[in-house]
């Protein structure tokens, strides 16, 4: 068959199809020199594509890999890759859909915390690469007159993320990343995790009850008073002063301002 027959698929489409499907022969028109075979030669490309894509996923999700074991992880990664290959050359953005994949992937259904552990790992890397900003200084709050504090709204720091889980995903994530034993963790204890980058290092905190409602409300634009009311309503034992000092220490926000309602209509 002539190689430039008009109706055939483009050469790179053929090459691509054969790259990701090891059952296909090397593409038509591809050979070794002087008519030598191309099976092993083409396999060099096929192998590099598969191995480096799996390696990229393993680099992003080390805790997930540790929890399921390296061999299982690599086998699972192949299946995920086939469903959701990376679309960008910026590989540190890859794997946004892994959590949803893990929720559907039957062989890991006995590890209900795994999807949220992967969400924490993805959020960790997003926080790592997020834009730089100084966290809100405690003095900024001190400068606001006491009667106006309730009307403050906050700008989330670019690195701030929250993962709320019905499992002990935060404890499991931290133990796995730090290579600590997991035996003492009760896996079905619900946990909320906060990911921030207050100075140079990404930090992951396990939040006390009520704090996630409070921070989430503030991160989505509620005033301090609205967020406190919401958190207290859901968790009567919510410790507001402790939450505010944790918020400053963790660097969830980069700025605060008086809400427009307050500034437009004083009193």
């Amino acid at each position: 068959m002539p190689p430039s027959e008009p109706a055939r698929r483009s050469a790179q489409s053929e090459f691509s199809a054969a790259l990701i499907n090891p059952d296909l022969p090397p593409p038509v028109g591809v050979s070794g020199p002087r008519g030598k075979g191309a099976r092993k030669r083409f396999a060099v490309y096929r192998n590099t594509v598969t191995v480096t894509r799996i390696d990229a996923l393993a680099d992003i999700f080390p805790a997930v890999q540790r929890l399921v074991g390296a061999d299982f992880f690599r086998g699972m990664a192949r299946i995920y890759l086939a469903q959701e290959p990376p679309v960008s050359a910026v590989l540190f953005e890859y794997g946004q859909g892994l959590a949803a994949f893990l929720e559907r992937f039957e062989p890991v259904s006995e590890l209900p915390y795994l999807p949220d552990v992967s969400r924490l790992e993805r959020a960790w890397l997003d926080a790592f690469h997020a834009a730089d900003a100084d966290p809100l200084a405690p003095a900024a709050l001190g400068a606001v007159p006491a009667e106006d504090l309730g009307d403050l709204t906050f700008t989330p720091h670019p690195a701030a993320r929250m993962v709320r889980s019905r499992t002990a995903a935060v404890s499991i994530f931290s133990a796995s990343r730090e290579q600590r034993p997991l035996e003492t963790i009760r896996p079905l204890e619900p946990e909320d995790g906060l990911i921030t980058r207050p100075a140079h290092e990404v930090q992951v905190r396990l939040l006390p009850p009520g704090a996630a409602d409070f921070f989430k409300a503030l991160m989505t634009g509620a005033t301090l008073a609205e967020a406190a009311t919401l958190a207290l309503g859901r968790q009567p034992g919510f410790d507001l002063p402790a939450a505010i000092s944790a918020m400053l220490e963790a660097g969830i926000f980069s700025a605060c301002s008086l809400s427009p309602a307050k500034t437009e209509h004083p009193q």
Binding site: A11, F15, R41, V44, V90
Partner: protein, 306 residues
Amino acid sequence: MMRSAPDPQTGGTARFPSLPLPPRAGAGLKPEHVDQILADTQRIGFLEVHAENYMGDGGAPHRALTAIRREFPLSVHGVGLSIGSESGIDHAHLERLARVVERYEPAMVSEHLAWSSHDAGYFNDLLPVPYNAETLARVVAHVGRIQDRLKRHILIENPSTYVAFEETTMSEADFIREIATRSGCGLLLDVNNVFVSATNHGWKPLQYLRRFPLELVEEIHLAGHAEDTDDEGDVLLIDAHDRPVADAVWKLYEIVISQTGALPTLIEWDNDVPDWPVLRREARLADAILDRLGPASLLGSRHAAE
């Protein structure tokens, strides 16, 4: 981004000093080496980064690269623009590269004669193209678009390849010369790639170099390769970047430098990355060759950067 007014001393902005790539050895920058490089009394000539690793908004990678850029000449080497792609240059990726270049004002920007993206996604590998008029027109158009967007000239690197195409009608060296002539780009000669491809395709490396437009080369790459076998049991070299430069590649490099004069020369070591002193030792081997053979070269000593 905070930027200062143009500095009449450097012609650029005062954000970073204007530091051209020197005709010395440099190293591929790895995050784990940054502190040692900054503290090292034996200063490396320059550093090169993969652009894609700095396409995030902020954080540790940019803090490290900013510290490096303040003190060392920098080369930005793209691996993801997919210049040989049938489906064109990805606009978003070119914008990301432009942002890295604007942010760091590097002395050099380079990319590969290869493709890495298609509808099936990003392959994270440098895939080969057939050398013919159709590919040439496509690559020249893509290089032109990149140079227009970056408002500077770039270097294109010769690939390492494992397969040949029936549709190829030109030699690789002639093809690369035509890219440079038509697009105005410069060339990055990867001497390891010459050796790997020559072995894999049964060319003679010296014949390749005789055809190659050495006068357009502004930077050299050196790296280690692995050995495998093809379907017929013959040697097949893999461009692995995971070990020291092979003796045969050093010999080829000596021949190149004795013709071109001293050129900025990068040691690439991207997998199984060694401790900094091991990488620096490779760089010093290149420096010794540059010192010994550069001044007596046929083309005379040239400075790559303007």
